[in-house]
């Protein structure tokens, strides 16, 4: 197989499977379509993660390498947060205290793992230097944590009552993200220089703002397209006004029910 064909099959087709699979799994109301969507999503993701082996010649395989590098901490964080949440005050299917402890340990290990990828030797390296997509992912994630936690602080304050604990938690998350960004911009890690990190942080912000503006314009255009289409539709058929006979019948029924004398009185 030619290199271009290999790249198309193992990377771009797999990426399309991930997008279409996720959409089918989330939006379809038919059971078998949701299952098919899940299967497409899983197989596409697996194919992307295998690209360091299936497409070692392609620069795009660095993305697959990043996905593979993130599986460990993501699973730890996801399962850990699930265990903590569902060992709380849930009416059905409550997990045990041990599950909660295991969940806390998993979250702590997940966070430390991610930190070790910047501040220790676990930085994703592919093929012989730091994975270029790691430089995009890590600052973007820190920015997202900061924005979401500070917005979460405001939301909890607006809609919740006596939720000081949650607000404190959001403040801690935001402060942690700020500290990590500032420290990363001041001190070198074993594999990442502080100036490179600071520059990539600005690039990540540009990426996020650009993506948000582009998505907003697309959604606006979508709304305009639908609004124009709907405005061109003929108005629905109006019913004829009621006849005198129908009005008489209605007034009789109303009089029977609002007369003030019940059958049991």
């Amino acid at each position: 197989m030619e290199e271009a064909t290999q790249a198309f099959v193992f990377f771009w087709l797999a990426g399309l499977f991930v997008v279409l699979g996720a959409m089918l799994a989330f939006f379809s109301k038919v059971h078998w379509q949701r299952r098919l969507g899940g299967a497409l999503f899983g197989s596409g993701l697996l194919s992307l993660m295998l690209t360091p082996w299936t497409l070692p010649f392609s620069p795009s395989s660095a993305f697959g390498h990043l996905l593979g590098s993130l599986v460990g901490p993501v699973v730890l964080l996801g399962v850990g947060l699930y265990q903590i949440a569902f060992s709380g005050h849930v009416p059905v299917g409550r997990l045990s205290r041990t599950d909660r402890t295991v969940g806390i340990v998993m979250v702590v290990v997940g966070v430390l793992w991610l930190e070790a990828m910047h501040w220790w030797v676990l930085t994703p390296t592919y093929p012989s230097e730091v994975n270029k997509y790691w430089y995009i992912f890590w600052p973007t994630m820190l920015l997202a944590v900061l924005t979401c936690s500070s917005a979460g602080y405001a939301v909890v304050g607006l809609v919740g009552e006596e939720r000081q604990q949650e607000q404190r938690l959001m403040l801690v998350a935001a402060a942690l993200a700020i500290v990590l960004m500032v420290l990363g911009s001041l001190f070198d890690g074993p594999n990442v220089e502080h100036q490179r990190f600071a520059t990539e942080l600005l690039f990540a912000a540009a990426d996020v703002f650009g993506a948000m503006v582009g998505a907003a314009v697309a959604i606006l255009l979508f709304a305009v397209v639908l609004a124009v289409y709907e405005s061109q539709q003929p108005a629905p058929k109006r019913l004829d006004p009621p006849t005198q006979e129908q009005l008489n019948q209605a007034s009789q029924i109303i009089a029977q029910h609002v007369g003030g004398e019940g059958e049991d009185e």
């Binding site: 820190l142 604990q165 993506a211």
Partner: protein, 155 residues
């Protein structure tokens, strides 16, 4: 304007300020501390904008099939979104082919467009994971708060 509308606007403004201001402050601080040059930031912004526009238009085009089931499969909005996707792709190719305007380290327009798409994927993963961590933490904390009891006044 009604009182409730003004209150809603204030709440939205407060939410927007909390979402944007801390991030802006940190970015200014980092830029002041460690960044020598901001060259390339505008190129990254423009590439992300065009790629995101094309990608989101494509996703919305897909959702029109669900919409079409409810509205006797109309062709007009489908055509509109196809044009939108083509417009995004066309603009991307046009601006990338204008010399150094939007090109980065890639050798060809196609390589740059594909690189933009992968970068958008990485950005989405970063944002998604950040949202997951914060939402999961908030949800876990809410679920572990003891249920409140209604306090009745003693007679």
């Amino acid at each position: 304007m009604k009182m409730s509308d003004a209150s809603l606007l204030r709440s939205l403004a407060r939410l927007g300020a909390f979402a944007v201001l801390p991030m802006t402050a940190v970015l200014i601080l980092v830029w002041w501390l460690s960044v020598d040059s901001t060259e390339g930031t505008l190129v990254r912004f423009s590439n992300a904008l065009l790629t995101s526009f094309t990608f989101v238009s494509f996703i919305l085009l897909m959702t029109l099939f669900v919409y079409g089931d409810a509205r006797k499969r109309p062709v007009a909005p489908l055509l509109g979104m196809v044009l939108s996707v083509l417009l995004g792709a066309g603009m991307t190719v046009y601006f990338l082919s204008q010399g150094e305007l939007l090109m980065e380290d890639n050798g060809s327009v196609r390589a740059q467009a594909l690189s933009n798409l992968i970068r958008l994927g990485t950005t989405l993963i970063g944002v998604g994971l950040g949202v997951m961590v914060v939402a999961g933490t908030l949800f876990a904390s809410l679920m572990n708060t003891p249920p409140r009891r209604i306090q009745f006044e003693e007679e």
